[in-house]
Symmetry: C2
Subunit: 188 residues, 2 copies
């Protein structure tokens, strides 16, 4: 989709999309605060001005990484919502999808939830909270479409949200997959 225009000046010496993917992995593993501009530059083999020319700022780079993560995970969650046949089944499918996602590419948890909990930057927390809020609204709508009352849908979404936050934190705390699955089935 990124139409390769003829390009005017000196071409960029690195792949911006690869760099974004690497940055996303670093932010997911270590968190926004713990990943420094120097770390990112070292990983991308680039000096700070190149990184700033390509992405604008550390925050902008993080937000691009969050967008990328959202696009990646949207398909999995969409399938879970589409396939659900009733509200309780929705909860099970969403949480199992989440756990699979959190354990993919190493035990990194959820980029959104982990940084919502961990980042000191208030503006970033607000942006992440808005994403979570959107997710919750989508789930509540689907739950109502599956027959839940508004109050039931709210409660269901709250339970899913708490469980997702717990799973993300537990994954990052090092809990192994078997224990996580045992925990999840106890919470369904």
């Amino acid at each position: 989709m990124t139409t390769n225009k003829p390009a005017r000046g000196r071409p960029r010496g690195f792949d911006a999309e690869e760099g974004l993917a690497a940055a996303q992995a670093m932010f997911a593993r270590d968190g926004y605060d713990a990943v420094g501009v120097a770390d990112l530059c070292a990983r991308l083999g680039v000096k700070p001005p190149s990184l700033y020319a390509a992405y604008g700022s550390k925050r902008a780079l993080f937000e691009k990484a969050v967008s990328r993560y959202g696009a990646q995970s949207a398909a999995a969650y969409g399938t879970a919502l589409d396939d659900a046949v009733n509200p309780v089944d929705l909860k099970r499918r969403v949480l199992e999808t989440a756990l699979d996602l959190y354990l993919a590419d190493g035990p990194q948890g959820c980029l959104v939830l982990a940084n919502l909990s961990a980042t000191a930057d208030a503006e970033i927390r607000a942006a992440l909270a808005a994403i979570v809020s959107d997710r919750q609204a989508t789930m509540a709508g689907r739950a109502r479409a599956l027959g839940a009352s508004p109050a039931e849908a709210e409660a269901l979404v709250s339970a899913i949200s708490v469980a997702m936050m717990g799973l993300s934190a537990a994954v990052r705390a090092g809990m192994d997959r078997a224990s996580l699955q045992a925990a999840l089935h106890q919470l369904l």
Copy 2:
């Protein structure tokens, strides 16, 4: 218990226990990384050298705050474990106790779990992880005493741990008490 020795040199100009309580509240609300030495000094009405003379370092102060938190919460969790009549009841009692604790004195969540998720300092994370591990061992022992098999006790403790992490994170994310309670009862 703190025997007031006659005191030798110039007396301290502030109450170290009050300062510790204030620091604990700050660490609980904002997290270890986000609370600076300057913030602590401003809150205690003290210059850095006084704070360092009294507590040693920012990390030492945090660890004292964690100890204090542990002593405060031990009674509540002890009651929950003591009163439990079977493993499932134990889970319910521990999680309800946790939620009450997390909402006391403002929506601060769990000092241990919140900082385990949020802090960039690896040594602090390790110390907090050890505390969590101890807690888990205690709960598993009590679950076995109430008739759970070793495997059942492990699964139960994993579920409790995931739920506690989720509750702490959800509290800190601003979820209201009613939603938290609805979520909790869906996860029991």
